[in-house]
């Protein structure tokens, strides 16, 4: 009898295949769509909001201008649902976007540009918020990367660019190095990473002690020993008996400690986010420039992305000079900073396009870029 090897292997059990997948390389993909489908919207909202609040607040500041500008970028003021804020009253955009809740789904209007495909991105693959390797030059009085300069030279007035503005300020590139109230971001993160597993281990022990798991299985015991050590386990489990009272007592303390660490981390991260944003939103009133919140998940770095026409780029300096003096503190530092193009592949940008085409219109782009935090801590 002839049998196809594919047919034979069809029902292979994972146990006999162990190791065979080791050379299969993961493909780089945007996992957000899949994540949304698997986890659903509800959990994402709950967990994301916890960390995204400050971003949402600052975002709200720019929404007013954004809502007014979108039709201009889209080239027409039609009543397209994706480019219209919730009430449809563009003349009263500020009132419309004033968030009554923690965040507003009308924020999505900002990322629903009809002209998305027209946007000019950087060819560079490095994240745009990092110091540019490209030479810095001057275009109409503003400092820009050479790449942006060259693209502006050949562009038409209505060509649209995705740019970010950088400041040469004394803020570390990475949150890990940022010092907040005497501790580095890494220390806050480490504390968060240290306390949460203890809470997790005690939670598992509590479940096991209550008989909520089928048994105190080997792998649970092994993983607790691996992470917390035998001494830790022996405090709560000895000679086959759980010390339920101590588990419950320590569980409460561990939960409090992990919540405290999570909130401290949140505060430090917010301080970092506030300090590291290039404050280009000051331009909104003078240029009608669309601005997105960018967020680079890998390096935990927030930044802004401006969607701006060549014509707008050309008048930036003049408009900035017209700004009130008190706005200077919130504006971009033309003398020391510079503008650069944003690479299309950046996570936030790819999500923005998904939000434009996809069905998940309720989920703010900024939310899904944020690393998830356990709901127990978010409450």
């Amino acid at each position: 009898m002839k049998k196809n090897i594919e047919e034979i292997l069809q029902n292979a059990d994972p146990a006999v295949l162990d190791g065979m997948f080791d050379t299969i390389k993961a493909e780089k993909i945007d996992e957000k769509n899949i994540k949304n489908k698997v986890l659903g919207k509800k959990s994402k909202k709950n967990t994301a909001v916890w960390r995204v609040l400050p971003i949402a607040v600052s975002f709200a500041l720019i929404v007013a201008a954004g809502a007014l500008v979108i039709p201009r970028l889209a080239g027409q003021g039609t009543e397209d649902p994706v480019t219209t804020v919730s009430t449809g009253d563009k003349s009263n955009a500020a009132a419309v976007i004033k968030p009554e809740k923690e965040y507003d789904s009308s924020l999505n209007a900002l990322i629903s540009l009809k002209d998305f495909d027209r946007i000019i991105w950087s060819d560079d693959t490095a994240p745009a918020y990092l110091p540019s390797n490209s030479e810095i030059t001057v275009y109409n009085g503003i400092r820009v990367t050479k790449e942006l300069y060259e693209r502006l030279q050949t562009a038409k007035d209505d060509d649209i660019f995705a740019v970010t503005a950088k400041r040469n300020i004394d803020i570390p590139e990475k949150f890990e190095d940022f010092v907040y109230e005497g501790k580095t971001g890494k220390e806050y993160l480490d504390e968060h990473n240290r306390t949460y597993p203890i809470y997790g281990a005690l939670h598992l022990l509590e479940q096991s002690a209550d008989g909520n798991t089928t048994a105190f299985e080997n792998w649970i015991r092994d993983s607790i020993i691996e992470e917390q050590g035998e001494e830790f386990l022996s405090k709560y489990y000895h000679d086959g008996v759980f010390n339920k009272e101590l588990i419950e007592e320590d569980l409460v303390a561990a939960r409090d400690a992990s919540e405290y660490a999570a909130r401290a981390y949140e505060a430090a991260f917010n301080a970092y986010a506030a300090a590291s944003y290039p404050r280009i939103y000051a331009f909104r009133e003078y240029n009608g420039i669309e601005i997105y919140n960018g967020y680079h998940a890998e390096t935990d770095t927030p930044y802004y992305i401006m969607i701006v026409t060549k014509a707008q780029m050309t008048t930036l300096k003049a408009d900035y000079d017209k700004a009130d003096k008190h706005e200077v503190d919130y504006g971009f530092d033309f003398e020391n900073g510079y503008f650069s193009l944003v690479p299309y592949s950046e996570e936030d940008v790819r999500y923005a396009q998904y939000a434009q085409n996809g069905s998940d219109t309720e989920l703010p782009a900024i939310a899904c870029e944020v690393e998830q935090i356990p709901e127990t801590m978010a409450e």
Binding site: I8, A12, I24
Partner: protein, 181 residues
């Protein structure tokens, strides 16, 4: 995050655990599903299938036994099976590659589940014994369903080299398995 910690997290906080599973394995599962479906499904169908793998896993992770296989293998098998089902749904018949045929004695009955399990085990053991890159080529070609072109790209070989090695490896397997079974 290590698999043990992942599973622990899944039990204590399913949502958070799934987030970590997705973070760690989406690219891997995608690679397997895409290998199987790229010629018959569009990107959104591939994405749906990848999502189905994780949804299925989230509904049944209690059945996963870390003592028996790694989580990667477990998800890999699940991905391959669901992708095969999706491919079958698309095509009324899956074409069988003659080059992948091996002789199984008439005395072997596929109805005999235990015997089938043993046969699978023996075949896989023999594939593993081929050693790299041949074991990898056979596994990818006949289990994952990758094309010679895909295999060549991932193993950094020429397509013709992949085909020749696959052919020779199959000859070797036929010889070994024919003797054993």
């Amino acid at each position: 995050m290590e698999d043990g910690a992942l599973i622990k997290l899944l039990h204590s906080d399913k949502n958070k655990g799934m987030e970590q599973v997705l973070k760690k394995y989406t690219g891997f599962v995608f690679a397997i599903v895409k290998s199987r479906l790229c010629e018959v499904c569009d990107s959104s169908e591939i994405e749906d299938c990848v999502s189905d793998v994780f949804i299925r896993f989230s509904e049944s992770f209690d059945k996963y036994d870390p003592q028996r296989s790694s989580l990667k293998t477990y998800l890999g098998v699940m991905a391959k099976n669901l992708a095969s089902n999706a491919a079958r749904d698309k095509l009324s018949t899956m074409p069988l590659d003659d080059d992948g045929m091996i002789d199984v004695p008439d005395t072997f009955s596929v109805e005999d589940a235990a015997a089938e399990k043993e046969l699978i085990k023996v075949v896989i053991e023999q594939i593993k014994l081929l050693g790299p890159p041949d074991s990898d080529i056979i596994f990818r070609k006949y289990y994952i369903g990758q094309s010679s072109k895909q295999i060549a790209k991932e193993l950094k070989m020429s397509v013709s080299n992949v085909d020749v090695r696959a052919h020779r490896a199959m000859e070797k397997l036929r010889k070994i398995l024919g003797g054993i079974i």
